[in-house]
Symmetry: D2
């Protein structure tokens, strides 16, 4: 592999720009090769600022022998097609989550990756957060013994705009999907059953298009571990992200950092700082680390650390969660595989 | 009401002795009047040490006009009868949890209390823990808005002896019952549905008599709040007791105290103290506070703070949890009321 | 030694009553033998409540062969004489701090102890606080290497009444003396030089009788370690008691406990509980532990853990601190020994 | 003022490169204009990477009308001359600390700044750390009342190379100088007296060239506040940076962040993460914020937030600390002004 790995970014929206900036400035062994967006002006502006060419089309970008890998950061409905095209062009693929909101499309894209034999990584960045990773390590190393109970709290500071919600696939596929991934990552065990309860508690209007904003989800893992996920679209005190694994030998916890470590004590009690309210204040370092993981794997000739099966399994769990919510019963994950819709 | 309130303790085992010592030395407005035990030697030893008479029989004790109230701390199977007899004797009743493991017996005892019009308090001491109470207060005062999600972690440091387990009524009625009470206490809302998953993960032998040692329980409250309880009989790192209420206006949390506040930082990281491993190291102050609550209510001519309905509701939830576990479905609490067994 | 050790308490004020209650109820291997006070009514009331005789005089108490040890908890000006008389009567001596505010009287009392060969312990209870003791242990065990810097923060929640202050010996001998002891305890090294700065910042009236309420004191230890003590008579947020030892191999810290472990997070930040504001809320367990240390040493035929030299050295340091403050220079401790006044 | 502010960096070493990268990528309202270094290759490499010209000489750079401000990041001995030249060229000046190790040179440079009327900021980046700033704010806003006691802990993870130490000006001028600045910043009050104790405890060889590695310093402020600073060149557990202000209305503290928020509890206790060991892991955000402060002040036509007097006063305090250490007495700061050497 040449040095550095040259990555072209497709999509110059918020998340595409973030990846482009990281690749341009901060990732050892990687370089930004080009940037493309359906809106040429957006691509040109980002390209100029970052000192790289704006690719005029995806075809041009995929035909460029100077591009080793693509980072797919466009809108979700374009992910699967772009994966197929990039795989056919022999490029390594990094794709923002989710690949797709339906299983058939997901499988078509992942089949193309497998057929082409290209490297593939899905953008579950939270795995690369140092605190969450320390929980995984405590399990994987055997330090806390066999995992029995996992608790995942994941609450956003405020609901997204209604137009975003309408096309998001619903809370389980848009938001909880990170937590389904975290449950598999932390335990190292597949999920076999899902039980979900939830409602629109924050904003009743969310119920109008059949979505919820508050949920409690029980997962049963293949190895018997039980995971609970609690989600809310609106934690007024900030972006609340916690993970805990309890096992036969101890417990490992990833707690929230605060925006700073100052405190004030007065007669009335103690006041400490707030939680971050913006996802990048919490997770910027994890976006950098996920690129380092991708680059490192490719250099070593290994599969990237978050592969096709990690893209697919959380979608299946999410579909099972949806069915559980609507049919008010525990749903075996195998049922989704047998009959996805 | 005369001053102080004179309380006789029935049962000179571990918990009876604790209550007797608290009443003898530490509760403003209360005094220990006498102590009784089926084993006269045990009663005499405790009585001598605490400077009070040993009552030769329950009848004698209940006939004593110098006794205002009884604290029932004998074995669980005697609770209901003793409540009935004490109520008929016109004594105020404090009873260690549980009143009974079956609903019919429970109702017989509580009916006697109602018929006699005596004061009654059930020993859910954890309500009187200052940290847990601060969570309740944050809900009740409206400070964190409408509660949406509650998380309760309750893990024992080590399983009790097998002979204890055999007669305990099972994990839900013996251990989770405290958490069912906590869910009602913190939210101020009744539970309408229970979904439970669990297994014998710590000690497979526990499965032999049909019990479990690890569980994850979802409760749906009348007001829509969702509570998750996670339980284990064996947290090797200590007695792990946490409560959290998340609402539309914020979150309130009760975390574990450590045995001391020292820490050591070295090249390899930071080490802090352990959690307590003994329930009295964690909850002694709450036992004192529950007596203060009892005495204070009686003096004010009010109902004690944890009344008959608080004794009964957790049992119903526990029975629903058992049914959910065995029938692998969510169980409406109303179903138990309609058909307890 | 007979079992239990029978201890008579002299002084039925706040601190004497505390010791009497601990001895009556909570110290394994010890028992309360009697209580005496110059005010017979006070002695009788305490004696009745605790179920022991009230001694009519110190002579009677010291003549009683049923008394193994005395706990001297009367006013400071009586300590030295009582130590001498108890020593001459062959009783083991526990004395509340300070033995005396002047070195000559101190030495007279300690000489009597040495001549009689009786056991002696001074009431520096903070040594028995589990968190502070963990700092000492981290030094003593070598875990944090050679100590280089020690930080001691000791701040009271509010100044004592002015009449108390007038006879207290001044802030260094009344309050900082605990910290001088802590510096010796934590480092295991004697103090050779003192530099103090301070003023009446909280209450200017304190300056009227030549005292201060705020101080910063540098101690140089024999082994080169440097200790800083900061004191205030008025920390409005509570009783602030911290100790830290920094060494070549790490750092050990004893931080403040809060009154409970609850917290509330809202949009405006996080609020945790207050510090204790009453010395017994912070240090009750240490008073129990100091008795256990005394009893344990006597049973083992060893010298009590806080002996005559520990009573004396902090007074010398305190006198040096006073001289440093008034003469505005660093004062070698040896100078005090050579010329106490 | 044009937009953005165009800043040329002088010095392409570690700290110069840091400033250049921040200006190139991350500071709203500022842009990197050019970079210069005595070693042309170093300047060219950095310039190429950051997409700006390498200035062939300081003269060329100062003559460039496209340069609004200079960031002086070269070796300390060049700072004063460069300040003079930049001021005479009418450029705004940002200078890394220290301006100089002697007062005469300092004054020559600051006189030139004053004569030219250019904006000047000294690089005391720690003022811009959010946690430390929260302590300052708690004082300045009156939230904690009148400050009585300040504690500053500042310990490096490991001593710098001996060749660095030899030319560093000694621990007080190289390392404690940040803390002298912090004491003025947090209290808002000038220092009038210094008492210092210290020794070479970590590495006896440091004593060979008259320096120390461990110190405890008492500062008396004009308003009566007392500050203690403790320093070590070697905290094996990481970069330890804490600030606390105690006042009549409360206390404000800035504690250490850990490298992540994960923890593991086992039977043997709890283990949390380490402190950062690299100054940029701790303070990177503060370097960005100090540029934002500089840019913001210039745009508003105001004096930069850390001006000439803030560059000068810590040097005077440091010289007083040195004299105190050597002459073993408290040294009034006015004495240094009267007779600097």
């Amino acid at each position: 592999m040449r040095d550095p790995l040259r990555v072209a970014v497709i999509g110059a929206g918020r998340i595409g720009t973030l990846h482009a900036e990281l690749l341009a400035h901060g990732i050892a062994g990687a370089a930004l090769a080009a940037i493309h967006d359906l809106r040429p002006a957006a691509a040109k502006a980002a390209a100029a600022r970052l000192g790289v060419p704006a690719a005029s089309s995806v075809d041009a970008l995929l035909a460029d022998p100077g591009v080793d890998a693509v980072a797919i950061c466009s809108s979700t409905d374009t992910h699967a097609d772009l994966i197929v095209r990039a795989a056919e062009a022999g490029k390594a693929v990094f794709c923002e989550k989710p690949v797709s909101l339906d299983l058939e499309t997901m499988d078509r894209a992942l089949d193309a990756v497998a057929a082409a034999g290209v490297a593939f990584q899905i953008g579950f960045n939270r795995r690369f957060d140092a605190a969450h990773a320390s929980v995984r390590l405590a399990v994987q190393s055997g330090e806390i013994g066999t995992p029995h109970l996992v608790r995942i709290t994941s609450r956003d500071p405020a609901p997204p705009p209604r137009e975003y919600l309408a096309g998001s696939g619903g809370m389980f596929l848009d938001m909880s999907i990170h937590d389904f991934d975290m449950a598999r990552y932390v335990t190292g065990s597949e999920v076999v059953e899902v039980f979900a309860r939830g409602a629109a508690r924050v904003d009743p209007a969310i119920a109008e298009f059949g979505d919820i904003d508050t949920a409690l989800i029980t997962l049963v893992h293949e190895d018997g571990c039980l995971t609970v996920i609690d989600n809310s679209r609106c934690a007024v005190y900030g972006y609340d992200q916690r993970v805990e694994a309890f096992g036969s030998g101890g417990v490992a916890t990833s707690d929230n950092p605060l925006v700073h470590t100052g405190l004030v004590r007065k007669r009335s009690g103690t006041r400490t700082a707030e939680l971050p309210t913006f996802f990048l204040d919490r997770y910027l370092a994890s976006y950098r680390a996920e690129w380092e993981g991708f680059v490192c794997a490719l250099r070593a000739g290994q599969a990237p650390p978050v592969g096709p099966e990690d893209a697919r399994a959380p979608l299946v769990i999410g579909l099972a969660a949806g069915r559980s919510l609507h049919e008010e019963r525990a749903v075996p994950v195998a049922e989704i595989e047998a009959a996805p819709a």
